[in-house]
């Protein structure tokens, strides 16, 4: 991963979150507490604002600083979760990047992404099937890794990852929530998409579309 790519992705994510205000907010009002969009906007805006300051830094340092900014700017449950994701990616990049130069670059990015998802799972003590963002992130990460391992090009990978994100989001509709704010709802959460899963799908689309446009 290059610093310029990470920062372009950050800008694309911020724009996509803002463009999907109504979708995210209406889902959160149905089964959350109505603050998810505001938190996501505040976090992505804070990161977008760091663009110039981060531009000269190496990728692992960029990921680290974005993680710390998310931690202090989002708050709520999303803050530590997204921060853990970014800090996990930063740690992977720092520890593995120089040693794996022979590895396929896409596979390397997939591994960093998987490491981020793993860090988030550990922080939230959650797994797939609990009606959370992991229902989008885990299948997206798995799809990314498998497609990269098969030597597919980035355009093919992006199409498959977007598809996996869509399926994961739709999968949350019929789940009972066992983690997050919707957990208190019991069966009443059935029939509603998870707002966190929705914002993850939106962000994955933003980054994939950025790559596909190139």
């Amino acid at each position: 991963m290059k610093t310029t790519f990470i920062l372009s992705a950050a800008l694309a994510i911020h724009a996509a979150i803002v463009a999907h205000e109504n979708d995210i907010e209406s889902l959160d009002r149905a089964i959350g507490d109505g603050d998810h969009y505001i938190n996501m906007k505040r976090g992505s805006e804070a990161v977008a604002g760091m663009y110039n300051a981060l531009l000269p830094l190496p990728p692992d340092e960029v990921l680290l600083q974005i993680g710390n900014k998310l931690l202090s700017s989002i708050g709520g449950a999303s803050g530590p979760l997204f921060a853990s994701f970014l800090l996990g990616m930063a740690r992977y990049d720092k520890e593995h990047h120089p040693k794996t130069t022979d590895l396929n670059a896409n596979l390397e990015t997939a591994a960093a992404f998987a490491y981020g998802v793993q860090s988030m799972m550990m922080r939230g003590k959650a797994n797939v099937g609990e009606k959370t963002m992991l229902d989008v992130l885990v299948p997206a990460s798995t799809t990314f890794t498998i497609a990269a391992a098969h030597g597919k090009n980035m355009a093919e990978i992006c199409r498959e990852v977007k598809n996996a994100a869509d399926k994961g989001l739709e999968y949350t509709r019929d789940l009972v929530a066992t983690k997050g704010r919707a957990a208190g709802l019991g069966e009443r959460a059935i029939g509603h998409l998870d707002p966190g899963a929705k914002s993850c799908q939106v962000m994955i689309y933003a980054v994939c579309d950025l790559i596909l446009k190139k």
Partner: protein, 332 residues
């Protein structure tokens, strides 16, 4: 939405500034990162720090002062504060005997305090409050929520800390009070998060939400509006069932807290108290202490919660001890 606002984005900072000015004799406000401390730093005691999303006033900043908290970290409305706030607060109030975090059991609060604890350069412990018995199903692994019982935990732990007790003793008392406390709430209307501008949930004129959380998040069930006695009766049953499930004998003295969620008048809260006290007495509980008012709110939600804390000599002593904070103050 009809609220006293200048700009939505400035609401929290303007409210905090007003709070700090109004209670300048007791508290100091620190900005970026935001936290509040006692005006005069205490020495040689465990420092008690709490925090959580704003919108629950007077919790937590209203409980800063002698006999209760040393510092509080306010997050955005209904959003947990972040670790940098807790770290800065800990740095400011640490008085040589460690830091005790009092954290309501909500995923966001738990994770942010956990990350702060991992980075904290001092001895520390955490009391997790989980007094809400509305959500019973054990498959809900997020677990029980921390609600009005948090005020009682903060009061008792704060009192013990003033005696110079060590960190382990303070944590043990906090855990004990939490275990001997059960709460359940009911909402008649939704609250409106200022930045969202619309009610958090829809509820008809003829409906109530039983087991509601302090963010307007749903609880046990949606039911039809009915006489207050019937509502209180169902809530009292839930609390008694909770103690029974924990095998805790309720035939003892207790503290009964009737807490308003922000838009229910005291007149109705006392009516609630009247019925609740009678029902608990009928079950062999002696209500020896009481508290009625808005102590942990949910913005402008109409509704109330009932909290019962089973007293023993230690808890009673620390509930009764002198406290001097913006929202709770008595001499002993």
């Amino acid at each position: 939405m009809k609220k006293f606002i200048n700009k939505v984005d400035d609401m929290l900072s303007e409210s905090l500034a007003g709070f700090a000015t109004a209670h300048a004799d007791l508290v100091s406000l620190h900005l970026n990162p935001n936290f509040l401390t006692r005006k005069h730093k205490a020495s040689n005691k465990v420092a008690i720090i709490s925090g959580g999303g704003s919108g629950h006033e007077p919790l937590h900043a209203g409980y800063i002062g002698a006999g209760m908290l040393d510092a509080a970290c306010p997050g955005h409305v209904f959003t947990s504060p972040s670790p940098d706030q807790m770290l800065a607060a800990a740095e400011a109030v640490h008085a040589g005997k460690g830091i005790l975090f009092v954290v309501k059991n909500y995923a966001g609060d738990v994770m942010n305090f956990e990350m702060a604890a991992e980075m904290l350069p001092f001895e520390h412990a955490t009391v997790l409050t989980s007094d809400d018995c509305a959500v019973l199903n054990s498959t809900y692994t997020t677990g029980r929520r921390g609600v009005a019982g948090t005020v009682i935990v903060e009061k008792c732990v704060g009192s013990l800390a003033e005696t110079g007790a060590n960190l382990q003793a303070c944590k043990a008392l906090g855990d004990k009070v939490n275990n001997r406390t059960a709460s359940i709430g009911v909402a008649l209307t939704s609250c409106t998060v200022p930045a969202a501008g619309r009610p958090t949930f829809d509820i008809a004129d003829f409906e109530l939400e039983l087991g509601v959380g302090i963010h307007g998040e749903p609880g046990r069930k949606r039911a039809s509006m009915r006489p207050a006695d019937d509502i209180v009766s169902e809530m009292v049953e839930a609390i008694l069932a909770d103690f029974a499930a924990k095998n805790i004998n309720t035939k003892s003295e207790a503290l009964l807290l009737i807490n308003g969620f922000g838009a229910t008048p005291l007149m109705e809260l006392y009516l609630f108290y009247n019925t609740a006290e009678k029902l608990f007495s009928k079950h062999g509980i002696t209500v020896a202490r009481s508290l009625v008012g808005n102590y942990i709110t949910a913005l402008d939600m109409a509704g109330a919660s009932i909290t019962l804390c089973l007293l023993d000599d230690e808890i009673k002593q620390h509930w009764d001890s002198a406290v001097h904070t913006p929202a709770l103050r008595w001499a002993r």
